[in-house]
Amino acid sequence: MIEINQISKVYNGKSVLNIDQLSIPKGQSFGLVGNNGAGKTTLFSLLLDLIQPSTGSISNNGIEVHQSEAWKPFTSSFIDESFLIGYLTPEEYFYFVGDLRNQSKADVDQLLAQFEDFFHGEILNQKKYLRDLSKGNQKKAGIVAALIGNPEVIILDEPFANLDPTTQIRLKKIIKDLSQQKGVSILVSSHDLMHVTDVCERIVVIDKGELVKDLKTNDATLKELEAYFEG
């Protein structure tokens, strides 16, 4: 689904990302871990064509993301709060995203109904603008908005941060279902090793922009990761 080739990003002569080859097949749940400044967000931003690569290319379903915009209809993402429109209510925001992805109001309502649990009664019908919601609730809205319109690739940057424990558990189930039942390629980054090993079939560790580990998740993965990050 996603092919990364000799991608590198250099800021003012300093290399922040340099990945030779990485391919993510369709339907894989892919976890990206690394310390602060490892290049996780840079990689995701490159995937979404939000920054320009210094060298190399990325293709998404055969489409070069830096050349064409045709990857947008089947790709969705939530990176940070700058993906939210602060002056809209959550409902208005969902419908707006729905409009962009050719989903009728009814389609969106149907999708939202599935996430009643996940919202925990704190998102819909709150009579609040998104900018007035707490960080955690903003995140919930952003993540669900990324699921609108049956995307084939979903990119979530640190989806577990700021969420309460109940929601974290529910989110893990949502991510698993998406990749296993609907064949969605789902890319998440996290600082929580336990969560990623729980939900991802495959975990890639990057450090200072370089790929250092590429693991297929099994019972020993968590231990291995802990050993690595301990130093």
């Binding site: 979404l48 064509d49 939000l50 920054i51 320009q52 947008k72 209809p73 790709t75 969705s76 993402s77 990176i79 940070d80 700058s82 993906f83 939210l84 429109i85 602060g86 002056y87 809209l88 209510t89 208005e92 707006f96 995203v97 409009d99 962009l100 992805r101 009579k127 609040k128 603008y129 900018r131 007035d132 319109g149």
Partner: protein, 489 residues
């Protein structure tokens, strides 16, 4: 402690994104301040003579005093828009061992040195000096000056007390308009009232205690208000606004651009900064009154064409120059979502055109000034729709200044968007219509000029698609730069 605060302030100022960006901006800001300051001093210096000339039989000091009430009202209204309580980042200071009173005092004292206070004082000091020079009693003049300074401070502190509430603004604004009308039709003479208040401050120097006392009381009430709310859930926490949801589904008939249109309308309605633009636009509709009521401007074709562009183009120009900056807060979403630039631009363009049409309808009473002036306004409106809209959108595409939607613009806040490119782009917007008009006017006549100006607009409309495609290309070329610039706060 004050020294530490001052150094924090200096760092905040000198390291702010807008300021550290370019030397040009710094120089322009300094020039701007010098320019306005210089004008104030100059007007103060020669004001005495001007008033003497304008109203020969009356003591110039009395003439000035007659209008000071309007100055008070006008300044209150202006400050409401432009002058906000400076926010000091007090959250990190709350848990440090610093006395609360110190922080609040510093915050309030700082406001005394604002540009708004300075500009009044810069006018009144040379004016007073002129008064003494022309033989007014120095002691009385000094007391009068001191009283006015007291009043400036009162305005300063009143503004912070009422700044949060729109109702006060409407009361002040309608009172100001009403007082001008009542005065003009000789129903109640506000100039007389103004004179008796302010001239008394000169006649009876001991009255100076009242403005000073009032300023002190207002300082105290500001202090108490801040002290009462010096908690995390007080002034620091932003107020959660009541949600107003309007059903905008009727807009779905606009097809492809409907989602963007709905969003833009909500954006304008629910955020402070675009609302300010809306007010400016309304103000611009009345801009012509300023030109057409003066004999010297009325028959000057340059000024007539200039004013005509602003009458219908106020919204177009002020809103359009910040496209796409209006969406800067969530620009990454717009760039990674399934959004065709063309529809996005078309929605913004449609909004601007609607702005021109509404302003045009409102401008119909200008017929009062003659059919020629209205013909000019009409032709300028066509030019605005057909050409200015695209030029403005193109300028916006090169702008790349992030806009904080729910924060009012400050007096000099707009300088950030100012650079050589913007200046170059504003030339055709302002001078273009005049040039298009004047050439056929010179060779053939007035009607030919009007027809040429209208035709240029219609021609622009014919090429709508071409222009929008061209701007779209500009967007695509600058995409990464724009994303990076908007990410900087």
């Amino acid at each position: 402690m004050t020294k530490t605060f001052l150094s924090l302030e200096w760092k905040k100022f000198s390291r702010s994104a807008a300021f550290s960006k370019g030397l040009v901006i710094k120089i322009l800001m300094i020039f701007g301040a010098l320019y306005f300051g210089g004008i104030a001093i100059f007007m103060g210096g020669i004001g005495f003579k001007i008033l003497q000339k304008a109203v020969p039989d009356v003591d110039p000091l009395i003439t000035l005093n007659q209008f000071l009430l309007y100055w008070v009202l006008g300044e209150l209204a202006l400050r409401f828009f432009m002058h906000q309580m400076p926010v000091m980042n007090i959250k990190p200071l709350m848990t440090l061992p610093i006395k609360r009173s110190k922080v609040i005092q510093f915050l309030l004292n700082k406001t005394i040195f604002s540009f708004f206070n300075l500009i009044g004082i810069l006018f009144f000091i040379p004016f007073s000096a002129a008064l003494i020079y022309f033989g007014y009693a120095p002691l009385q003049v000094a007391a009068w000056l001191l009283s006015l300074m007291g009043i400036v401070l009162c305005l300063n502190f009143i503004n912070f007390l009422i700044n949060k509430n729109n109702t006060y603004f409407y009361v002040i604004a309608s009172f100001a308009v009403l007082s001008v009308l009542l005065n003009n039709y000789n129903i109640i003479s506000f100039t007389k009232i103004s004179e008796s208040i302010f001239y008394a401050l000169y006649q009876f120097p001991y009255l100076v205690v009242f403005p000073l006392l009032l300023a002190f009381i207002l300082y105290k009430s500001n202090y108490n208000l801040l002290a009462k709310h010096f908690y995390l859930d007080g002034i620091i926490r932003k107020k959660i606004e009541k949600v107003e949801t309007k059903d905008l589904s009727f807009m779905d008939q606009f097809g492809d651009i409907a989602p963007f249109l709905k969003n833009d309308i909500r954006m304008i309605w629910r955020n402070k900064r675009p609302k300010q633009v809306l007010f400016t636009a309304v103000f611009f509709v009345f801009y012509g009154l300023f030109f057409f009521t003066f004999e010297i401007y009325k028959d000057n074709l340059f000024f007539t064409s200039f004013a005509s562009i602003f009458i219908t183009g106020g919204f177009l120009l002020t809103f359009g120059q910040y496209v796409p900056s209006w969406d800067s807060e969530y620009y990454k979403l717009m760039m990674s979502q399934n959004i065709p630039y063309y529809q996005y631009l078309k929605s913004k363009w449609s909004l601007m055109v609607v702005g021109v049409l509404i302003a045009y309808v409102l401008s119909i009473p200008y017929i009062y000034f003659g059919i020629k002036i209205f013909a000019m306004i009409s032709a300028a409106a066509v030019f605005n729709v057909g050409l200015n809209s695209f030029i403005t959108l193109y300028g916006g595409a090169l702008n790349r200044v992030p806009v904080e939607l729910n924060v009012k613009a400050s007096a000099f806040g707009n300088t950030q968007g100012f650079n050589a490119t913007q200046l170059l782009i504003s030339l055709p917007k302002m001078i273009g219509p005049y040039v298009i008009f004047i050439v056929p006017y010179y060779f053939i006549g007035f009607k030919a000029g009007i027809i040429a100006l209208s035709l240029s607009g219609i021609l622009g409309l014919v090429f709508t698609k071409f222009f929008l495609k061209f701007i779209e290309k500009t967007y695509q070329k600058g995409k990464y730069k724009t994303i990076a610039a908007f990410a900087e706060k």
